[in-house]
């Protein structure tokens, strides 16, 4: 199924994927599958986007359809449907 991806001011995303907004054909069924498949397809540059010291970068937030924050440690629990949009963005607040 096709999943829409957006990387908002994420270091290395443009270099790793050639774009910061694109769609991705997902073979698996949930957010965890998505992250793993992206890293598998795009290789080392994409791992630098998602991982710090071998673990998912905790400050890189995952937002499902602009509404639901997906805790990285529970990403396998969040199923995806065709047409869903996943935003990756760093923690921001204040102003």
């Amino acid at each position: 199924m096709r999943i829409n991806l957006k990387f908002i001011v994420v270091t290395g995303a443009q270099e790793a994927f050639g774009a910061t907004e694109f769609s991705f054909e997902l073979a698996g069924s949930n957010v965890g599958d998505l992250v793993r498949e992206i890293m598998e397809k795009y290789g080392t540059p994409s791992k630098r986007v998602f991982l710090t010291k071998g673990h998912y970068e905790p400050s890189l937030q995952i937002i499902l359809n602009g509404r639901k924050y997906v805790p990285p440690e529970r990403m396998d629990e969040f199923p995806l449907q065709a047409g869903d949009t996943i935003i990756f963005a760093h923690l921001v607040e204040g102003g």
Partner: protein, 633 residues
């Protein structure tokens, strides 16, 4: 005239505190050291806590905010002047001329640390000088100087003049610009290029004929720490984490400019005076656009995040304009709010407001208000001094800023604040005033983040994003629990929780931009090692201080006549579904009454929003309970 300060009569000292405050009486040109009572330190901790305790005790109800009876407080926090990164912010607290309510406005830079290192836990300014005056604090005491030669200067020239006289590196200045002198009700107090901006604190300073306060920090010393070894170890470990932390790195690189695309994507970024949530061309005012104009950075006292981005416009209409910032809020107010996508215009308008001494949030919302009134035909060009303010017209923005600061024409009406301007203009204009309790709303759409929106409504300072920032909705925090930002109810506890946590942080005073990886337990550990107070050891106990502060701020407002009807949002939020806002499209505030009930219930307030006697007793505010009784129905 040199006026040595009087000696303290009490000597009940506690580490890190100075155990005294500086009382300035401008009417009498007197400066005195006053003891800080141990029970105040015990119950209110510091910073914002000292502020509301002082105002509630010393400011009689119904005082005219711009009269000599008002009190203007300058409050560093417990850890100001120490090496704890992000903890040297300072607060201005007073009764707001914009809202008639309590206000506290927070600022960065080095002024707070200078005041603390100069020997004071805070400064209280009373009275009114008979002519323009500035204060100079040094190891020799407090001096009152004639400010005739400074009156009329902008804030940059004012600071340059004072630094030329006393030295460039060790003199830290808080001052007002022409807007404060002319009592513009959203005038700011400016320190370097940073602002204590909200609620008209600059107008209060202007009403006192006080142009500037300069502190010579060269003779000062950092506060004594109870356990220096532990304190330094905590700070060192924290700084090590910050070195590689992604959020810290992003804040250093981009400042708060990188909030814009995320808020826009989520439909939280207000556009066209809170009518919409999408701005075509928003990428032109996004973080990458500003990065191209970045020329340097700036850090506040002891801060390792250094999020202050310095930008300079390279070409075009505003070539040469330079500003520290703009922060996200100013990108909203001079960008989305007026549908402007020219980053250069935002930088130039930010710089102009800093020089004139204006709150950029209130100024931008006032400009968006005028543009909507023009669009709706409520205000014509004739009533606008010939201006034709259409969406995106940043040229008109600059004319409005100048007119407000000079109180000319339409600017004289807007200078009263957007809510009052709506009343003065009439013909339904008030509906388009985007304020809560008269304070212009910041850059988070209430309909798209409803605990955050409820926070605007019940905030004791009015429409502020920083009185109880809903991190759960804006940033995805899962504590104390997960929150669906678009859900219509179940928000009262979150709003209250956030207000309490923020009040705790503002005893410090911790910066929201530099709080990466800071937990409440970390704050407690710093407080204990700094003060020696064992009652601050456990995170769960320290909330009581925050709750006490928020509660007393509410009691202050109730004494001024505020009640449930004032805990509300602009009518637009209830009547108009949010347009063109991506995942937030169609949202509206549907259950305001039940949201208020939830919040009051969580906070221990009655149905009118008045803290119950039981709650006041629990918080050690039993003496306030009798004040509140006469307001209960």
């Amino acid at each position: 005239m040199l006026l040595p300060t009087k000696r303290l009569s009490k000597d009940d000292k506690m580490s890190v505190y100075r155990n005294k405050f500086l009382k300035i009486d401008l009417s009498r040109k007197e400066a005195t050291d006053e003891p800080l009572e141990p029970d105040v330190v015990r119950d209110f901790l510091g910073g914002r806590g000292f502020g509301i305790e002082y105002l509630y005790k010393h400011l009689p109800p119904q005082i005219e905010p711009l009269g000599p009876g008002n009190i203007l407080l300058f409050l560093p926090g417990i850890l100001a002047g120490t090496i704890a990164p992000g903890f040297s912010r300072w607060i201005v607290a007073t009764k707001s001329p914009l809202t008639g309510a309590y206000i506290r406005s927070v600022c960065g830079g080095k002024f707070g640390a200078a005041l603390k290192n100069g020997g004071y836990d805070f400064m209280a300014v009373h009275g009114r000088a008979d002519k323009p005056t500035y204060l100079y604090l040094s190891k020799d005491g407090v001096q009152f100087f004639d400010a005739d030669s400074l009156w009329g200067l902008d804030t940059a020239a004012t600071q340059d003049n004072i630094r030329d006289k006393y030295g460039k590196t060790s003199t830290h200045i808080a001052c007002i610009g022409p807007a404060g002198e002319r009592l513009v009700k959203f005038a700011a107090i400016i320190h370097e290029k940073r602002a204590a901006a909200r609620g008209g604190v600059g107008a209060v300073m202007g009403s006192k004929n006080l142009k500037a306060i300069a502190i010579d920090a060269s003779g000062g010393s950092p506060p004594e720490l109870h356990n220096r070894e532990v304190f330094f170890k905590l700070v060192k470990e924290h700084n090590e984490i910050l070195k590689t932390h992604e959020r810290r790195k992003k804040m250093t690189a981009y400042g708060t400019t990188f909030i814009t695309p995320k808020m826009h994507e989520l439909g939280i970024f207000p556009v066209k005076n809170f009518q919409e949530g999408r701005l075509p061309g928003v990428e032109n005012i996004g973080p990458e656009a500003f990065q191209k104009l970045k020329t340097g950075d700036y850090g506040c006292y002891a801060c390792t995040t250094r999020c202050g981005n310095v930008f300079k416009v390279a070409e075009g209409t505003y070539a040469g304009a330079e500003s520290e910032g703009p922060e996200y809020e100013t990108i909203f107010s001079f960008g989305g709010e007026i549908a402007n996508t020219d980053a250069g215009a935002i930088i130039a308008a930010d710089a102009l407001c800093d020089r004139l001494g204006l709150d950029t949030i209130s100024m931008g919302v006032a400009a968006g208000f005028v543009m909507e009134l023009y669009e709706k035909g409520i205000l014509g060009s004739g009533a606008l001094d010939g201006l034709k303010p259409v969406w995106g017209d940043h040229g008109t923005l600059f004319q409005l800023i100048e007119k407000v600061a000079k109180r000319e024409g339409i600017g004289n009406i807007l200078a009263e604040g957007t809510k009052k301007a709506g009343q003065l203009i009439g013909n339904g204009a008030e509906y388009y005033a985007m304020t809560a309790k008269g304070l212009e709303l910041p850059g988070y759409e209430p309909r798209a983040a409803k605990a955050h929106g409820l926070g605007y409504a019940v905030s004791n300072i009015g429409g502020s994003h920083m009185y109880g920032y809903a991190r759960q909705e804006i940033s995805g925090f899962m504590t104390p629990r997960e929150v669906d930002r678009l859900a219509d109810d179940g928000k009262g506890d979150i709003t209250g929780w956030n207000q309490i946590k923020k009040a705790v942080e503002e005893t410090g005073i911790l910066c929201n931009f530099a709080d990466t990886n800071v937990t409440q337990q970390f704050i407690c550990d710093l407080y204990v090692s700094a003060t020696g107070r064992r009652d601050l050891a456990e995170a769960k106990n320290i909330d009581t201080f925050g709750e006490r502060i928020v509660c007393l701020e509410r009691c202050f407002n109730i004494r001024e006549g505020f009640c449930r009807k004032d805990d509300t949002l602009p009518e637009r939020m209830f009547k108009e579904p949010l347009k063109n806002a991506g995942p937030s499209t169609g949202e509206v505030i549907r259950k305001m009454d039940s949201l208020l009930d939830e919040y009051y219930d969580f906070m221990g307030y009655d149905k009118d929003g008045i803290p119950s006697s039981k709650k006041l007793g629990e918080l050690g505010l039993a003496d306030v309970a009798s004040d509140m009784e006469r307001f209960r129905k």
